[in-house]
């Protein structure tokens, strides 16, 4: 064994599937001088990888997870570690059968071969199954079992063979040293290594290791029960590791997977059982391994009964091995990847399961190498997504407890959390509650989605508020949204936008810094604003926001609730450290009301004043002439100091109005009072985020805007490019000279009548856009056309979909198909590019 090194370019902590694949990928990308350590022995150091069931069901409704899983399976195949056996998800309930239609749709999106099976067809493939209790199956021939330990070994050894890596097993991390906010060294029981980069790939131990540096990786070790039962004759007689497809008994949250002569039965049905990373026993003190804890039998008994119902032979097989296996859960069930927000150059590659491990390792390696990944946008895995309250054990346990039993659940795209609600409330909450608001959760914020008080408007707009006969389509939705939308377009509405994040940048270096961060020119006059994308180094979307110039050296960035954490990280990461720029997070200091509609100006004219040059309180002229679109003014509204920003995300004349939190309720009441004569109503996010937005074709970060796409493709490029350099500029310039491989389009459903004769309304969950003969549309960069947002356009009387299309299909009037719940519906390209379908000249916003 070589001498324990005292310095390295990069130290990777952990030799599970992630750490092993990561060093392999980093080595391929040119990293040298790496050290990998693990406190356990090799090849199985005792983490979750060592006891994983190792199977891959590739279909996932989530694009990010689906792409990472497929990329992983590809790597397992390339290494010869992928044993294809097929897999069948079986349904015991009609709801599950319907979910299989949705899975067929997602499988189509990602190009996964899949088919629905009748109970008899399931029986043909799995002769020992009790098909009488089944209603059907979702069969994926490409389901496989992988050898994750051997894959990891091969990846690790490839880096060693290339001379880029030294590996030290049985080496425990005792401390992480940080200097000036940057990782400095890893202290182990074998010595101290100074390192420029350190990656925490420690699975269930990750929070414990990160905490040594003062960083937070929010996950909890949680129990997944599994048992190995056998020997079973029919399995033994197959003389194969895997002769039969893996069965996922979806309605009992169980799986049955052949393992040579026996069957592995696993469960996600039991109560959530958590453990603190500090409490996990050592390798030495563990009867099996640190992550294979003794089975709590009572939790498993109900699963055994259900398993026997499905496969009677299991009842007489011996339970040879049964564990409470530990795996990682996060509050939102997504991985935790990227540089930690607390410590520079300390990276997290945690909360990763076997099926997505190698893909995520590739993604993190690219991220570390290029500044942002190429494989896919890690938007929902990004460690910087979490707000402070989401990183507490309290939140982690509550949310993980809630979603654990949904591992095999049927989760609606709009599904709301039941726990950890009322974490953050705007000052307007009492009024909203009184108006019968249905609140949706936005990273802790309670935001009204619609108001029961507006239900009466449905009579007024009868015929324009669609009813949705399918419970699925109507879930987490209300036709009141259409009524609110129409009333706003007819008169005026007010929207609670307090969940916005406001970041203030001040100081002499601010202009140059923001120019470097943003695509568009931020050097606008004081009192003006700029909308701008932020790009990745690769020229894809990293952010999408507006910036107000409040002073010569004072800029305020406004961004959404779902991107606040990521944007804050991105700005502060690149902020000069010489003191020339000061960052202040104003998000908890300010509340926001949007006031929009044809009568917005009249409403605000009544309430808005300012102090004139003579020091007198006078009415403020809110006309477009004095206060044009895109400008910002400091005013008094019924005496409340406020910042009005003339802008709109719903296509109407009006403002975002900011004031201090403590003035909020007064401001709300003042505007409501002023608007009374115009029948002003509170309007929910159903309008702001969906119907109002989609009529205007406005793109949303995380939906239409992802790092895989560039501004040319999204139709957000400007005619000119500023002279200042900015992140991603070179790639942006290149993209401007190329023909876009895909173009963001708005499509309208021509007929949304299903085969069973009811109207259906796609939810906007990655439904594939297909050619008329049902073929997927894949662009030259390998990206598939799929629905990024779907929603009603009440003012147009249409149901609209947003999707990227290849140039040959991006032709207005072109007829295509959308698949929804495994049925094809005709759609027409209504708009190519960013021009709105509603009010195409934006006359309403500027008059």
């Amino acid at each position: 064994m070589s001498q324990f090194p005292t310095r390295a370019k990069c130290v990777v902590i952990g030799a599970g599937i992630v750490g092993n694949c990561l060093v392999g990928h980093l080595s391929k990308l040119g990293w040298t001088d790496m050290v990998q350590i693990d406190k356990g022995p090799l090849p199985n150091p005792g983490g979750s990888t060592g006891h994983a069931s190792n199977f891959i069901f590739p279909t996932d409704h989530n694009k990010e997870m689906a792409l990472l899983t497929l990329a992983s399976q590809k790597q397992y195949i390339e290494l010869g570690m992928n044993n294809t056996c097929g897999g069948i998800e079986v349904a015991r309930t009609p709801e599950r059968l319907e979910e299989f239609n949705r899975r067929m749709t997602s499988a189509k999106s990602w190009g996964i071969d899949a088919k629905l099976l009748t109970p008899a067809e399931i029986k043909e493939l799995v002769p020992f199954i009790n098909e009488k209790i089944l209603l059907g199956g979702f069969y994926t021939p490409s389901v496989s079992v992988v050898d994750s330990l051997q894959t990891g070994t091969l990846m690790r050894e490839s880096a060693v063979a290339a001379g880029n890596l030294q590996v030290f097993a049985n080496t425990e991390v005792l401390d992480l040293e940080v200097e000036n906010g940057t990782i400095k060294a890893v202290v182990t029981n074998k010595g101290r290594i100074e390192a420029e980069f350190v990656v925490v790939a420690c699975g269930v131990w990750s929070p414990r290791i990160a905490a040594m540096a003062g960083a937070n990786i929010p996950l909890t070790p949680a129990v997944h029960q599994m048992a190995d039962v056998g020997p079973i004759d029919i399995l033994q007689q197959s003389n194969k590791e895997l002769a039969y497809p893996i069965i996922r008994d979806m309605d009992t949250f169980c799986y049955e997977r052949q393992s040579s002569g026996s069957m592995e039965v696993g469960s996600y049905a039991h109560r959530a059982i958590f453990m603190h990373p500090d409490d996990i026993p050592s390798n030495e003190a563990s009867a099996l391994s640190p992550t294979e804890l003794p089975l709590t039998q009572d939790d498993f008994d109900p699963q055994m009964e259900q398993a026997i119902d499905l496969m009677e032979m299991l009842g007489d097989a011996e339970i040879k091995y049964a564990i409470n296996g530990l795996l990682s859960l996060t509050p939102d069930a997504m991985p935790v990847l990227g540089e930690t927000v607390e410590v520079r150059n300390l990276w997290s590659a945690a909360a990763v399961w076997i099926k997505e491990g190698p893909g995520i390792a590739q993604l993190v390696a690219e991220w570390m190498t290029y500044g942002y990944p190429h494989l896919c946008d890690p938007h929902s895995s990004d460690i910087s997504r979490f707000y402070a309250h989401e990183k507490t054990d309290h939140h982690i346990y509550a949310r993980c407890d809630e979603h654990f039993n949904k591992t095999y659940g049927i989760v609606h795209p709009r599904e709301q959390w039941g726990t950890q609600r009322n974490m953050r409330r705007s000052p307007f909450f009492p009024r909203e509650e009184a108006a019968g608001a249905t609140f949706f959760d936005a990273r802790g914020w309670e935001r009204p989605q619609w108001f029961a008080s507006n239900a009466k408007l449905m009579d007024k707009f009868k015929g324009q508020c669609e009813s949705r006969p399918s419970e699925w389509d109507a879930r987490w939705w209300s036709p009141i949204t259409n009524a609110e939308h129409l009333q706003m377009r007819e008169s005026v509405g007010m929207v609670d936008l307090t969940a916005f994040n406001e970041f203030d940048f001040t100081g002499p270096g601010t202009m140059a810094f923001l120019q470097y961060m943003c695509v568009n020119n931020v050097d606008v006059p004081v009192g003006r604003s700029v909308y701008t994308p932020l790009l990745t180094q690769g020229g894809g979307f990293r952010g999408d926001l507006t910036i107000m110039r409040l002073g010569a050296n004072h800029f305020r960035v406004i961004t959404g609730a779902f991107d606040g954490g990521r944007d804050k990280y991105w700005f502060t990461k690149y902020m000069p450290q010489d003191g020339s720029v000061t960052f202040t997070d104003m998000s908890s200091a300010l509340c926001t009301i949007g006031v929009w509609g044809p009568n917005a100006e009249k409403t605000m004219a009544k309430a808005t004043q300012n102090i004139n040059a003579e020091g007198k309180l006078v009415p403020f002229d809110v006309s477009q002439a004095n206060f044009p679109y895109g400008s910002v003014r400091e005013v008094l509204i019924d005496g409340v100091p406020a910042t009005m920003f003339r802008i709109s995300y719903v296509g109407e004349n009006g403002w975002e109005i900011y004031t201090k939190m403590e003035h909020g309720l007064r401001l709300w009441d003042s505007i409501a009072e002023a608007g009374k004569e115009f029948e002003i109503i509170p309007v929910g996010m159903g309008v702001y985020a969906v119907t109002g937005r989609i009529e205007k074709g406005y793109r949303l970060m995380g939906a239409e805007l992802e790092s895989e796409y560039n501004p040319m493709e999204a139709g957000l490029n400007r005619a000119k490019v500023k002279s200042a350099d900015f992140i991603g500029k070179a790639e942006y310039m290149k993209a401007r000279d190329e023909k876009p491989a895909a173009i963001m389009c708005t499509l309208e459903m021509i007929d949304n009548t299903s085969k069973s004769g009811i109207k259906r309304f796609p939810t906007g969950g990655n439904e594939p856009i297909l050619t008329k003969d049902g073929q997927r549309i894949v662009d030259t960069k390998g990206r598939v056309s799929r629905v990024t947002t779907a929603g009603a356009a009440p003012s147009l009387g249409k149901y609209l979909l947003l999707a990227y299309l290849t140039p040959e299909h991006a032709v207005e009037g072109n007829e295509l198909r959308v698949m929804y719940m495994n049925e094809m519906y005709p759609v027409r390209v209504a708009r190519v590019g960013s021009q709105p379908l509603f009010d195409p000249t934006d006359a309403r916003m500027k008059s």
Binding site: N283, E284, A285, A287, L293, P294, D301, D316, I319
Partner: protein, 255 residues
């Protein structure tokens, strides 16, 4: 053929056994529990005898209420009756345990008739006292042999095989008798799923017994001195062969 098997609930530790801070117990925070291995084999032996000769297996334990788990484990592999002699707190010493068990057995036999065979483990995995079975047998006035690696029944006689350096010794005890069973007598079956589910329905009879403490008192547990490395490297390459054979001699497997 009615057979009683006396079992003990013991932790199933890893390579390193941790002790609680007060030194009074094994730290079982993250450990599972099992039937002490010799007794696991005794249960299997009893079940096999009943499968061959008919009758039923009763399992008895003295322990806290959590020891019901071990009674159910025994029930899941073939015991049909289960008796808990409940105690609270720390394990009882061997004298007290044997006294209580023999009283409990007497009570059971008064109600249901004599057990043809009473099986014990040779010694418990945790306290290694080597005496509870012998003491109970003497109290009950039954013949007793320890170390059984084989039991056969015929004509009211139990033929017991026990290993010695030279081979095997044969003992013959007239029934009713007591036998201490050693691991290796058989390969205990694992519970089946059906067995496990059925075991949940077995009623556990509670027999309260009081007994006097004996004269051996545990003061404190301690860990033996740590070896620098847990693994002793005997050498590198073929040159290690001599050290390996020395080890085989020391372990008594090279004869």
């Amino acid at each position: 053929m009615n057979i009683l098997v006396c079992v003990k609930r013991v932790p199933a530790p890893g390579a390193r056994i941790n002790i609680t801070e007060d030194g009074q117990q094994v730290d079982t925070a993250f450990l599972g529990f099992t039937v002490s291995p010799h007794e696991e084999c005794a249960v299997e032996a009893a079940v096999q005898l009943v499968e061959k000769h008919g009758g039923e297996v009763t399992v008895l334990t003295l322990g806290d209420v959590l020891a019901e788990e071990q009674l159910r484990t025994a029930a899941s592999v073939g015991a049909v009756k289960a008796v808990l002699v409940p105690i609270e707190g720390m394990d009882w010493d061997a004298q007290r345990t044997a006294s209580a068990i023999s009283s409990a057995i007497t009570a059971l036999e008064t109600a249901n008739g004599t057990f043809d065979l009473i099986l014990f483990g040779n010694e418990s995995a945790d306290s290694c006292g080597y005496q509870v079975g012998v003491r109970a047998a003497v109290k009950l006035g039954r013949p007793m042999v320890n170390g059984a690696k084989g039991i056969e029944l015929a004509d009211g006689v139990a033929t017991i095989r026990r290993e010695s350096d030279a081979g095997q010794e044969i003992y013959k005890l007239p029934l009713p008798a007591c036998i201490g069973v050693r691991e290796g007598i058989n390969l205990p079956r694992y519970p089946t799923m059906k067995g496990r589910l059925a075991s949940k329905k077995v009623e556990i009879q509670r027999t309260e017994i009081s007994a006097e403490s004996g004269g051996l008192q545990m003061i404190q547990l301690q860990r033996p001195p740590e070896r620098v490395s847990n693994t002793q490297i005997l050498g590198t390459g073929p040159e290690a062969a001599s050290a390996v054979v020395d080890l085989l001699v020391e372990l008594g497997v090279f004869k």
